[in-house]
Symmetry: C3
Subunit: 140 residues, 3 copies
């Protein structure tokens, strides 16, 4: 069995933003020399996501608006409790649960075995500081 581990550092300048990291994951799969296996990609921070969807700017604007409706940013002590301890990112912990922490992708013939529109995104919900993404590949 082969394995390969790689971390990416993300720097999103806005509070909320999405970054296409597919090419970085493709490079890690190539480096791993794994032909058949699984590739895990996950946010290492609990106010961020890794998810697979379309690379369409309109869709990303819609996601931001929708996430803001489902879990609004609220810098005042209300309505979230963690905000009372001085942190103002409780909404980000909620948004991350909607969008998910991780994806697992099949590797077949040395490549990510993707459908026609699948692209891997990093989703940031409490940005303006560096954060990390884990890529772990196992297989043969």
């Amino acid at each position: 069995m082969k394995s390969h581990t790689k971390q990416l550092t993300m720097n999103v300048r806005e509070r909320m933003g999405f970054v296409n990291i597919t090419s970085e994951v493709v490079a890690a799969v190539r480096e791993s020399c794994v032909q058949e296996g699984l590739c895990l990609v996950n946010a290492m921070h609990i106010t961020a996501s890794v998810f697979i969807n379309d690379d369409e700017p309109g869709l990303h604007r819609d996601y931001k608006k929708w996430l803001e409706e489902l879990a609004p940013f609220a810098p005042s002590p209300e309505p979230y409790q963690p905000n009372r301890t001085g942190e103002h990112n409780a909404d980000a912990h909620h948004k991350r649960q909607i969008m998910g922490r991780e994806v697992v992708v099949a590797i077949t013939g040395g490549r990510l075995d993707f459908g026609p529109w699948e692209q891997i995104f990093y989703g940031e919900f409490d940005g303006k500081r560096p954060k990390r993404v884990m890529i772990k590949i196992i297989g043969e």
Copy 2:
């Protein structure tokens, strides 16, 4: 290490629908001859889901109603931006994020290591056309 790759083609005639694909995944596990390992099952399209829950028609009706409330279908250009480019499936991209892209299931003793009610479903949110599901099994 052994691996096995299989694709299913789904044809859901309604816009939104759920299909129990457990028996197809069970068959793929048998074909793989893997005794101990992991089985990834994911939608290869970004307006569909694979998820695990109960095979209960009332529950599925509730899911449809609930997803329609959280991310309503809207064929007009508003409220979603991608609809302005001529596509009318923005809601499907949102519903898929709630229900998830994939499941990973343990294989123990050559079988899916399931709890009492776990069943694997394909969730379609923009149907009336063929779509694919990936099954990837690795182990020994």
Copy 3:
């Protein structure tokens, strides 16, 4: 390839509750002797979740309030259909979809390869009875 399988039994006395199971998963990784691999942790029941987030009581109170808003508990036959068959846990099936069924964590150098605040939680949405969690580890 090595593999290791372990089940935890959860007993949450409230209807909804979160339990930090990180130390149990760390112990299973140690028992597996896997140095490089993947660790799957999933709820074996369809009204429960396994998720990764912060070990912060205020956040957990917020999650409960938020999940109750997104998918309210309703013991009457309305608004959920499964309740008509005598079960009163339809809301729990919905809450579990928001929080997810499973997490997959990288194992590097014999340890869970975690970011600074990542902790693994069992999320119970229909408690007061024993339920199980699956831990499956594969690697080398």
